[in-house]
C-alpha cells in the first residue's frame, strides 16, 4: 500500500440516501461543461452522472498508469475500475480545490501494485516498445534507428530491473510526466524525498546500464533534446 496517504481530513460521511436516489443529470451549467471542482462537488453529493464526467476525463491516464505498473491489460483494467470505485467512496475526504489527478492516480497506483503483488508476480514487468517512432527532429538513418530501438529496449529492461518504489517514481515522473509535486502526492512523500529517490533511481539505472549505453542513446537519438 502506498503510505502517508494525503487524503484530507474531511469528516463528511457519504450521502448514501442521495446516492440511492440515483442520477441528477446536471453535468452542465447552461451550455458550459462543469469543471473538475464542480463535478467533484456534485459527485461527492451522490451525483453519479457528474462522477461519470470525471471517469471519462481521467480513465485514460488512470489506465495508462495501471498498465505501466502491472504490464498486464487485464490487471490494468481491473485496477483502474476498482480504483475509480474506491475513489468515489473516498470523495468525501477529497480536499476541495486540490488537484484531482494525483489524488486519483495514487489510488490507481495502489490498486495496480496491490494487484500485482497479490498475484505473487515477481517477474519483471512485461512492457514492450511500440513500433511507431515519434516524429520530431532529424529523421535518423535506418541503422541509427535500429540502434536507437535497441538502446531503448536496454533502458526499458534496466527500468524493469529496478525495485518497485524506484520504478513507481520513474513511472510517475518520466512516463506519466507528472510534476514533482504530483509525483510526491502519488508516492505519498515530500517533494524532497521524490528528488532524492529519483536521484537514487537514476544512479541505479546508470549503474545497471551497459557502459556507455546512455551516452550512445543520447548521441544517436533523433530527438534534438
Amino acid at each position: 500500500m502506498l503510505g502517508e496517504c494525503s487524503f484530507p481530513n474531511g469528516s463528511r460521511e457519504p450521502n448514501v440516501s442521495r446516492r440511492r436516489r440515483g442520477l441528477q443529470k446536471q453535468s452542465t451549467v447552461g451550455d458550459r461543461p462543469l469543471d473538475d471542482a464542480e463535478l467533484i462537488e456534485r459527485a461527492t453529493e451522490g451525483d453519479l452522472h457528474a462522477y461519470e464526467g470525471l471517469v471519462g476525463s481521467y480513465q485514460g491516464i488512470a489506465h495508462r498508469t495501471a498498465f505501466l505498473l502491472t504490464g498486464s491489460s487485464a490487471d490494468a483494467e481491473d485496477a483502474t475500475q476498482e480504483a475509480f470505485v474506491k475513489a468515489f467512496y473516498a470523495l468525501p475526504r477529497f480536499r476541495p480545490g486540490a488537484p484531482f489527478r494525483p489524488w486519483l492516480l495514487k489510488i490507481v497506483a495502489n490498486e495496480a501494485i496491490s494487484r500485482r503483488r497479490a498475484a505473487g508476480r515477481t517477474e519483471r514487468l512485461n512492457l514492450r516498445l511500440t513500433e511507431v517512432r515519434p516524429s520530431g527532429g532529424a529523421v535518423p538513418s535506418p541503422e541509427a534507428a535500429a540502434l536507437r530501438d535497441e538502446d531503448r529496449r536496454e533502458l526499458l529492461a534496466a527500468v524493469g530491473r529496478l525495485g518497485e518504489r524506484d520504478r513507481l517514481a520513474i513511472t510517475c515522473r518520466y512516463w506519466l510526466e507528472l510534476s514533482e509535486a504530483e509525483t510526491a502526492e502519488v508516492l505519498g512523500c515530500a517533494r524532497g524525498t521524490v528528488k532524492s529517490r529519483l536521484s537514487r533511481a537514476l544512479s541505479r539505472l546508470r549503474a545497471a546500464m551497459p557502459a556507455g549505453l546512455v551516452d550512445s542513446a543520447t548521441a544517436t537519438g533523433g530527438d534534438p533534446g
Partner: protein, 265 residues
C-alpha cells in the same frame, strides 16, 4: 565501478521521458458504464463505510494478537485509515518497552525456516558465519502494508552473549522494505548514534545508544516504523528489495562479519 564519465542526469532523464512515449500501452477501455454499475450495485446493497471499518478493526486485532511487530506510525496510521475511509480511528500502539525483551519480543508467529520461506515473498538470508548454524527460532509477522517480516532468533550461548535483559544473543529481522537515507535521519534522536558503514556494496548503518525505532520504506511507498526488540546495538542495511536489521550485544566488530556472511538460498 565504471570509470567512464557518467552522462549528465538530464540526458538520462530525457531518454526516460522519450522512452515513455514509445512504450506500448493498449488502448484504454471505456470503463464509464462498468464503474457506474459497480457503484450502483454496491450503494444499493450496503452502507458505504461499515464493512471496511469492520475489516480494519479485524486487521488491527489480528495484528495485536500476533504480537504487533509493526507499530503504526502516525503517517502510516493515517494512510491506512484514510485508505479505508475511517480516518480518525485510533490504533493503540504497543507500549514501547524494547529493553525488556526476555518477557516478550513481539516478533509475530512462530515458524520454521522452511515455513517462513513459504510465507515470505522474498528470499530469507541466513548468516553463514562460523558458530551460528541455523536459527533457534523463526518468526513471521505482517507489516503495515501487507508485506512480511521474518525474524531469526539465536539464543545466547558461550560464544554469543545475551543482549541486556534477554536470553537472546542475536536477532536478525528481514523486511520486504527499503532503507532510505532520508528516513535514517529520523532514527537520530537523543542518545542514538548513527554511523554509516558498508555491507558489501550496500550502504549500512550502525545504530548504537538508546533503544530506537527504525523507519523503512514499503515497496509501495508507505513508511514502516519498527522498534528495536533488544536493548543492544543495531546494524541496518538493504540487500536487493529486502532490509535487514541485526540486533545484538556483540558490538560492531562482531556484528559486521555476521551481516556480511548473510546468504539467501
Amino acid at each position: 565501478m565504471n570509470r567512464r564519465p557518467r552522462p549528465h542526469p538530464s540526458h538520462l532523464e530525457r531518454e526516460l521521458t522519450d522512452l515513455g512515449t514509445v512504450i506500448r500501452v493498449p488502448p484504454a477501455p471505456d470503463l464509464v458504464a462498468g464503474i457506474r454499475t459497480r457503484i450502483e450495485s454496491q450503494t444499493g446493497r450496503r452502507r458505504l463505510t461499515p464493512a471496511p471499518r469492520l475489516a480494519f478493526v479485524a486487521a488491527a486485532l489480528l495484528i495485536a494478537v500476533l504480537g504487533g511487530v509493526v507499530l503504526f506510525s502516525t503517517s502510516a496510521r493515517e494512510a491506512v485509515a484514510g485508505w479505508l475511509g475511517i480516518r480518525g480511528i485510533d490504533i493503540v500502539e504497543d507500549a514501547p518497552t524494547p529493553n525488556h525483551a526476555n518477557t516478550r519480543l513481539s516478533l509475530g508467529r512462530g515458524s520454521s525456516l522452511s515455513g517462513a520461506r513459504k510465507l515470505a515473498s522474498f528470499d530469507i538470508a541466513v548468516p553463514a558465519a562460523p558458530g551460528l548454524g541455523r536459527p533457534d527460532e523463526v518468526y513471521v509477522a505482517e507489516t503495515a502494508y501487507g508485506g512480511r517480516s521474518v525474524s531469526l532468533v539465536y539464543r545466547a550461548g558461550p560464544s554469543l552473549p545475551a543482549a541486556a535483559g534477554t536470553r537472546v544473543g542475536l536477532l536478525i529481522t528481514q523486511f520486504e522494505a527499503g532503507v532510505e537515507d532520508d528516513l535514517i535521519q529520523k532514527v537520530k534522536t537523543a542518545g542514538v548514534e548513527v554511523e554509516p558503514v558498508r555491507i558489501g556494496a550496500s550502504p549500512a548503518y550502525w545504530i548504537s545508544g538508546n533503544p530506537h525505532y527504525v523507519f523503512l520504506l514499503d515497496p509501495g511507498g508507505g513508511v514502516i516504523e519498527d522498534r528495536t526488540r533488544l536493548a543492544g546495538d543495531t546494524l541496518l542495511w538493504e540487500s536487493g528489495r529486502v532490509s535487514l536489521r541485526l540486533e545484538s550485544g556483540l558490538g560492531k566488530g562482531r556484528a559486521l562479519p555476521i551481516a556480511r556472511s548473510m546468504r539467501a538460498p
